[in-house]
């Protein structure tokens, strides 16, 4: 077989035949084409990292939530309010994803949680590999709550599993009730929905029921829906109870073993 390009039969010993390779031995290298059947999934590498993260969280009874929304939907404010309400009950760590600055991590630390900022630079989403390194840096305690604030974007983060237990998609009532139809992939991959800035409902043209119809259209299975306002505190108690129940179910087995 030809040692340069792998062509020819195995029994043809033409790999050391003492002349340059621009020769003619019955075939032309430049034009010989073949097809190779492969099965290469573009998201497989991310999925491997996500599964490793998920296994790490499960082993330690950590509830990881991936928050996704447009810029300005109120993610950081809702996270800060959530930390203030839950930090007495659970250790809380936050991974902040933004293209630039550590501003959000600073707001989270002010609210009383440990935070790690990922600056994605030109990238528009977090991936599971970045989150794995952030987790290494943060070392969340067993039985804790890990809140991951994705880059503000309703398109790109939809494709990337981070190893979270829940994908929480937020939209605020100032954004328009047709967002689920405009960004169907994001809403289709969600496992929980937050409708935020509900204190502004009297001032904007936003029908919550109409919006939920749109969500149902792209996400036919039912999922938990939370109506919140981080400013007035509306809906926050119910929202935090939902998180606490999910966190307790993961932490329970650890407590029994005396590890948390």
């Amino acid at each position: 077989m030809c040692g340069t390009c792998g062509c020819g039969q195995d029994h043809e010993q033409i790999d050391r035949h003492g002349h340059d390779h621009d020769h003619a031995h019955g075939h032309a290298h430049e034009t010989e084409e073949r097809r190779i059947a492969v099965e290469l999934d573009l998201l497989a590498n991310n999925r491997r990292h996500a599964e490793a993260n998920r296994a790490w969280f499960r082993e330690r009874g950590i509830l990881a939530l991936n928050f996704m929304a447009s810029p300005g939907a109120g993610k950081t404010e809702l996270l800060a309010a959530t930390i203030r309400m839950l930090s007495g009950r659970f250790p809380v760590c936050v991974i902040e994803g933004d293209q630039q600055t550590g501003l959000d991590a600073a707001r989270i630390r002010e609210a009383g949680a440990r935070a790690h900022q990922i600056n994605t630079g030109k990238l528009c989403h977090l991936d599971a590999h970045m989150v794995g390194h952030a987790v290494e840096a943060l070392q969340p305690e067993p039985g804790s709550l890990l809140l991951i604030e994705n880059v503000g974007n309703l398109v790109c983060p939809a494709a990337f599993d981070l190893g979270e237990q829940h994908r929480v998609v937020m939209l605020s009532v100032t954004e328009g009730e047709d967002k689920p139809l405009k960004y169907p992939d994001m809403f289709a991959t969600a496992s929980s929905l937050v409708v935020n800035k509900c204190d502004l409902l009297p001032y904007v043209n936003f029908d919550v029921a109409h919006c939920l119809d749109h969500v149902h259209r792209v996400h036919p299975e039912l999922m938990p829906v939370h109506r919140t306002s981080a400013t007035t505190g509306e809906g926050l108690a119910e929202w935090c109870e939902w998180i606490a129940a999910a966190a307790e179910s993961l932490r329970g087995p650890l407590l029994e073993e005396g590890r948390a």
């Binding site: 084409e33 097809r35 190779i36 528009c124 939809a158």
Partner: protein, 113 residues
């Protein structure tokens, strides 16, 4: 523009497969793209053209084949092809379908020299 991250993965996976198969040159990459996947074909092609620079993929082309999801109608049980999340039932014209598949982002064949 997460297509840039996907295009980089196309280059990485193809280079790896080419090295394993002792291939010198890849001329075409056949990619199966599910209709409900999160990637836009034009944007992926554009990003790939940028990412192949300086790699062994040289002038390799990306041949994208879109693949529909199969959508089961909760009303009549019929299965229709789905090219978007808003496609309805082809049989009873029900408005909603429950999608199966359609999220493929997979290199299925390499044309090499």
């Amino acid at each position: 523009m997460h297509e840039m991250a996907l295009a980089r993965e196309i280059v990485r996976l193809t280079e790896q497969a080419a090295a394993e198969q002792h291939v010198r040159r890849v001329t075409r990459i056949h990619l199966q793209l599910g209709a409900l996947s999160c990637a836009q074909p034009d944007a992926l092609d554009f990003a790939f053209t940028a990412c192949r620079q300086g790699s062994m993929l040289g002038e390799a082309e990306l041949a994208i084949v879109r693949k529909p999801a199969l959508g089961r109608c909760p009303d009549c049980g019929d299965v229709s092809e789905m090219w978007s999340r808003f496609d309805g039932c082809a049989h009873c014209h029900g408005k909603m379908l429950l999608a199966e598949g359609g999220e493929e982002l997979r290199i299925v064949e390499l044309e090499v020299q």
